[in-house]
Symmetry: C2
Subunit: 433 residues, 2 copies
């Protein structure tokens, strides 16, 4: 029984996890697939570094092409990250008829279509379950488990760092900067947290989800992004008062032929299932026309959860090899890409304004909304401590288009009685109470 041989690009935390799972679960893997799997070659930066996995030294190399072009290697597992250089590696690997498993969301978000085309052309598999929401088998669920359904909406908490920060801010009423610092000390945020806190990481994952869920070539540029660095503890306080929980939510929604994809801090009813996804956990809420509402919850990152997804992809490649059907599962996008204009995107909106406390203020403000046919679901007015001349007004609107809402904000800013529009957030999940 010939073993299936793996070439590994990268032996960091995820790479080590992959080696551990392959070694520890060898029995299960062999049982499932019918043949053993071995690590043939591993790309590392430093062959002499001490590692906590047992690998014979002669499988290690510092030359990527020693792995990619090793004629003995059947499958390339890529866990080095990076974009341009890695793209080259994987295109060359596919060209050399190696199947590819990758955990690289940045790469797949940008070059997923190109890599898929190359895989198809070469009769190779390309799997990337680990690129979205680590240990949660969400891509498979969209492609297989919900294969017969028409997905109309996905809402995802797909970034652990920001969910950790917002959970803490929500629980402890602590300001953003303080919580970010704590998250960095605990290792839940990078020294440079920009990609996480500004929503770019989540945007990459939402582009991948939208592509699969809607069978449409959604690009990263199509995703509107707003991060959490401007979220204040006051915003969170006021949203809690009105029964909401603040989460960084990726939304991918289809109406008819057109889609919208965005990442933004969003208010959800406190009893919504996504509101109880705490700390660094991830979850993806999926709405299908027939199935209704489902949710997939689990660890979004971490070396072992990510490695689980990678090795599960490897199992799929191995099963395909045994059956001789590699490269046969690709489905071209069914629909031409059509992205909604701001006039076609509808949502409820939360906004918080400081207004001058004088007769007629409130009616001047509300008339701006009513001129555009936008009505209110919730209103809260409170005095502001230490500012007798100002009042705090918090409004949650009924559904309004983004175009109308932008226009309303513009008009409010021009209004003499408005001291400042403090913040606005999309509100989702109405109906949960």
């Amino acid at each position: 029984m010939k073993a299936i041989r793996v070439g590994l690009l990268g032996l960091g935390t995820v790479g080590s996890g992959v080696v551990k799972i392959i070694q520890d679960h060898q029995d299960k893997l062999t049982h499932q697939v019918g043949c053993p799997v071995t690590i043939q070659k591993v790309l590392v930066k430093d062959k002499d570094k001490k590692r906590d996995v047992e690998l014979s030294k002669d499988v290690l190399t510092t030359e990527a092409y020693d792995v990619i072009q090793d004629p003995e290697v059947d499958v390339i597992i890529e866990v080095i990250g990076g974009i341009e250089e890695t793209r080259r590696y994987l295109l060359d690997a596919l060209q050399a008829k190696k199947h590819v498993v990758t955990a690289n969301k940045d790469l797949i978000a940008l070059y997923g279509s190109e890599l898929t085309a190359a895989a198809k052309e070469n009769g190779c598999d390309l799997y990337f379950e680990a690129s979205v929401a680590g240990g949660i088998p969400i891509l498979r669920s969209l492609e297989d488990g919900l294969a017969s359904d028409r997905i109309t909406k996905m809402m995802g908490i797909v970034n652990g760092t920001t969910n950790f920060i917002l959970t803490k801010m929500n629980k402890e009423n602590a300001p953003y900067d303080e919580v970010l610092k704590e998250a960095q000390e605990l290792g839940f945020a990078e020294a440079d947290p920009t990609a996480d806190v500004e929503g770019l990481d989540a945007a990459r994952k939402m582009a991948i989800l939208a592509r699969l869920g809607f069978s449409m070539n959604v690009d990263l540029d199509d995703v509107k992004v707003k991060g959490i660095s401007q979220v204040s503890d006051e915003d969170i306080n006021f949203s809690k008062r009105l029964g909401y929980t603040m989460k960084l939510i990726g939304i991918a929604q289809r109406d008819g032929q057109k889609v919208e994809v965005s990442v933004q801090p969003t208010l959800l009813p406190e009893h919504h299932p996504l509101s109880s996804v705490h700390n660094e956990f991830n979850a993806v809420y999926v709405y299908g026309e027939a199935v209704g509402e489902t949710m997939f919850y689990g660890p979004g990152a971490g070396s072992m959860p990510t490695a689980t997804a990678v090795v599960s992809d490897l199992v799929s490649v191995m099963k395909n090899m045994r059956l001789g059907v590699n490269g046969s599962s690709f489905v071209d996008p069914q629909f031409e890409k059509k992205i909604k204009a701001p006039s076609e995107i509808f949502a409820q909106q939360f906004l918080r304004i400081h207004v001058k406390d004088q007769v007629g203020s409130f009616s001047k403000i509300t008339s701006i909304f009513s001129e555009r046919g936008v009505s209110f679901e919730k209103i809260l007015q409170l005095p502001i401590k230490g500012h007798d001349d100002l009042a705090e007004i918090v409004i949650v609107t009924h559904h309004t288009s983004e175009e109308d809402f932008t226009d309303i904000l513009q008009k409010l800013n021009d209004l003499e009685v408005v001291h400042q529009v403090k913040s606005t957030y999309r509100v989702e999940g109405n109906g949960w109470s």
Copy 2:
């Protein structure tokens, strides 16, 4: 492009849902699989009954074997329910080289191994995703998404009726009988609710989950079952006081080579993710050695969610047909069945006792626990209104074996100061707060 032809056994609510999805999503199905799918023959009880799906009358038949033996039929979808007769139908269908998709948990729980063997022998597919937790693609997630991991524990809310009843009892402090009646009026419970409320339906699903998750031929008889009909509103009140939510939980747990499978009313910390699964929804919590904790949430029943799972299975069969790999995905159980003895099953236990309010009662009770080395996590003692001579004692133990706990209960019952042991429940999910 030749169409793939389906023979449908049953045209009730799920069967009609299957027809609707196949008709409405024909474009998507054709796009995914590369050929259309048509309904060839349908078994019904009454050909003249008015139906809300459009089907030409000559595809309807009242003879099962008109469907099973139709040479044009490629795939049999079974949604009639029933056990012995249906088993015969499906064995004959497999014998006639038809692939089979079924939503029938009763049948799969009892005859899953036999049907699988028959499918394998005939080179046919056999899929049954819809048999567990309706619209949640949990079997696929265990077999594919978590394929590389070693599953150590599954906890499932896999019966919508009992979850609906317990959610109501918990929210409204209403007694069981009243809530059951309401559930029956709303259509969430059958006129004869026995299979649901006594836990048998959940036990069938847990047997199927345990078989797949642990790769072991677990039988329905191996599942210990306790239903919810004895749960009192007082039990729920006291568990809430101590921070727990009562759920009917199916537990499948592996330690080393041995497993335990049970269904019983269980107390979970109120912030545990399973505690926020409300009403008729289902969820399965899965612990894997590498991945850690994941949860799959969604509708557990209902015609359209169940039909989604059935048609997704059909898509898998169709993809396999296109690739010529039907019947190749069966994996024999990896492990010999080993079921834990009561001395090997450990859990925390909640118990509620009425004791005579006299000096030394409490120490007599506690000494019975300490003789067996069982200590307490929580204790609550309260007077009982209208019974000056009695006191209510509620205890949550640390982990104890079932054997020791049974022995303790026996000893407590024999104790003169114990008026009555009112109830006991397993406690799970420690660590969530």
